[in-house]
């Protein structure tokens, strides 16, 4: 069991979801985040105040997958999220000790077996 955490550009979310779908990945959790990295900063002005925005909007996707699926998942994220410009984001793979499906209490493999 692994947790694949991907940070991507918001404008690539649709493509990434689609790529994951094609890779038969169905369960995931998505959140809006902001990232700092190598992208050039934006300057904004509000009346007399000038600010540099050090954070850029990103989307964080968290996907629990069985070990066998890690490669396919990463490949799908890369395929869907890449633009080739600085700021495309990162994928982190974290070890998971246990997964429980709340609805049934099933754990691990069974917890992430699809519903239908």
């Amino acid at each position: 069991m692994k947790l694949v955490v991907a940070v991507i550009r918001p404008e690539r979310l649709a493509e990434t979801l689609q790529a994951l779908y094609h890779a038969d990945v169905r369960g995931m959790t998505v959140s809006r985040v902001q990232g700092h990295g190598g992208e050039t900063e934006t300057v904004e002005t509000y009346r007399g105040t000038t600010v540099k925005m050090e954070l850029t909007d990103k989307i964080r996707i968290e996907i629990g997958v069985s070990d066998a699926f890690v490669e396919a998942t990463i490949a799908a994220v890369l395929a869907g999220a890449r633009t080739g410009e600085v700021g495309d984001g990162k994928v982190f793979v974290l070890p998971v000790q246990r997964v429980v499906r709340i609805r049934t209490g099933e754990t691990d493999g069974a917890a992430v077996t699809p519903v239908e």
Partner: protein, 448 residues
């Protein structure tokens, strides 16, 4: 007092404002003012949409707003084609005739000193906002279609006859001599009685009392209150139906009563919890406006201050008390419009003065009987509205469910009743085109 027949008398009685208006001609200044007053009253309905929409959770924002906006369609049409006739055509003491149905005979000829059609539209804006007021009691758990059917039928079967009773010279309450300048009884108590019944018949929200339900957008509540105040000048001062001294008096009182109510409400808040709330300030403004509505052209400015200040108490403590009961009048229509409407109507019986243009003196001017007349009018209107509302809702419930399923209520009515979100981010939204959204080769879902 907006009775047309009596307007000459009124003007004559108003201090220093005697004008001899030759009855059957248009008064351009009155027309100018009533054009504006009508636009101002129309503004109150979107304002209410924001007042109410800000008080609910974000998942029910659009549904709550649509309950007001929707009334601008169907209720307006029902009034134009039928309700107006039942209210303002001559008939018996209980209901007007059908002479004006379908706008027959309603043209540009003067009605009082303004074009008849303008008078009709002015009154139409009243029934629209009155119907919309009811929605606050059933917010967050009544389906849209039965709601709209209910308030549309209610506007014809309840509002129109009640307006006839109170404002038409034939009406039995009019003939009793009850004072209701701009609709404390016809609009606010009437709507609140329907709201109370609707809240009871529809039943409480499934998570009411079990979970904290917070207003999702308090600035909208303030926007609504601000625009309501502005619109209410059209409501109250427009009820003079001319740009005369009575209009100015009603205007002044519509400025002073909410100002007093705002100060008192904020003080009560500060005393009770240590913190004057913005939702409280908005509510206080509305309560002051409601309370002064029946009195606006009948009392002096100091009386208006008193009415605004006094009316705050029942509404304030009514709201605090209601939250501890099982009555899920979600946005406190009964406390804000019912209690303040009753208080205002009774205080009109206390403070009215012929010297300020009222057609009858009140208690303080030596006519204690007026309070009784006011109470009778209130009781009759509330009882009639409650009874017919009950019958209407039960009838509609035979045809369709009044409520969404538990699941739909949980997800929010914006999505389930209107197929929209108030604040869509667009994440995870897949465009549905003519073909399938994304062609999938036999999905073998492995992980979910």
């Amino acid at each position: 007092m907006r009775c047309l027949a009596a307007s000459l008398l009124l003007c004559a009685a108003a201090p220093a404002a005697a004008q001899t208006v030759p009855a059957p001609t248009l008064d351009p200044a009155a027309t100018a003012w009533m054009l504006v007053a009508t636009a101002l009253v129309l503004l109150m309905t979107p304002a209410l949409a924001f007042f109410y929409g800000g008080l609910v959770r974000s998942k029910n924002t659009l549904n709550t707003m649509m309950m007001s906006i929707g009334a601008m369609g169907s209720v307006a049409l029902a009034w134009t084609l039928l309700g107006y006739s039942l209210a303002f055509d001559s008939g018996n003491g209980f209901v007007g005739g059908l002479g004006f149905a379908g706008l027959r005979g309603v043209g540009l000829e003067p009605e009082g000193v303004i074009p008849h059609l303008l008078f009709m539209v002015y009154q139409a804006t009243f029934v629209v906002i009155t119907a919309a007021l009811v929605s606050g009691a059933v917010a967050e758990r009544m389906r849209f279609a039965p709601y709209l059917a209910f308030v549309t039928l209610w506007s014809v079967l309840v509002y129109a006859p009640v307006a006839h009773w109170v404002w038409d010279p034939d009406g039995w309450i009019f003939q009793l001599g009850a004072l209701d300048f701009a609709g404390g009884t016809v609009v606010h108590v009437n709507a609140a009685a329907a709201a109370l019944v609707a809240a009871l018949v529809v039943g409480p929200r499934r998570d009411w009392g079990r979970r904290a339900i917070l207003p999702h957008h308090v600035p909208f509540v303030l926007l609504g209150a601000g625009l309501l105040w502005v619109g209410w000048f059209g409501f109250n001062a427009g009820s003079a139906l001319a740009a005369n001294a009575t209009a100015a008096l009603a205007f002044t009182n519509t400025f002073l009563a909410p100002a007093a109510a705002l100060v008192v409400w904020t003080t009560l808040d500060a005393v009770r919890t240590g913190k004057p709330t913005a939702v409280g300030a908005a509510t206080g403004i509305v309560v002051g406006l409601v309370a002064v509505t029946p009195a606006a052209g009948h009392v002096g400015p100091l009386a208006a201050l008193a009415i605004g200040a006094i009316a705050t108490f029942p509404s304030y403590y009514g709201i605090v008390w209601r939250a501890r009961t099982r009555l899920d009048d979600a946005l406190d229509v009964v406390a804000a419009h019912g209690l303040a409407g009753i208080t205002g109507a009774l205080l009109t019986g206390v403070f009215a003065e012929r010297a300020w243009g009222a057609t009858a003196d009140g208690l303080l001017a030596g006519n204690p009987a007026q309070v009784g007349v006011q109470a009778l009018a209130l009781a009759a209107v509330a009882a009639y509205s409650a009874a017919v509302s009950f019958g209407l809702l039960k009838t509609i419930a035979l045809v369709t469910d009044l409520r969404p399923s538990a699941r739909d209520e949980g997800r929010g009515l914006d999505l389930t009743e209107h197929g929209e979100e108030a604040y869509a981010q667009g994440e995870g939204a897949i465009l549905v085109l003519d073909g399938p959204p994304h062609p999938v080769s036999a999905p073998v879902p492995v992980i979910a």
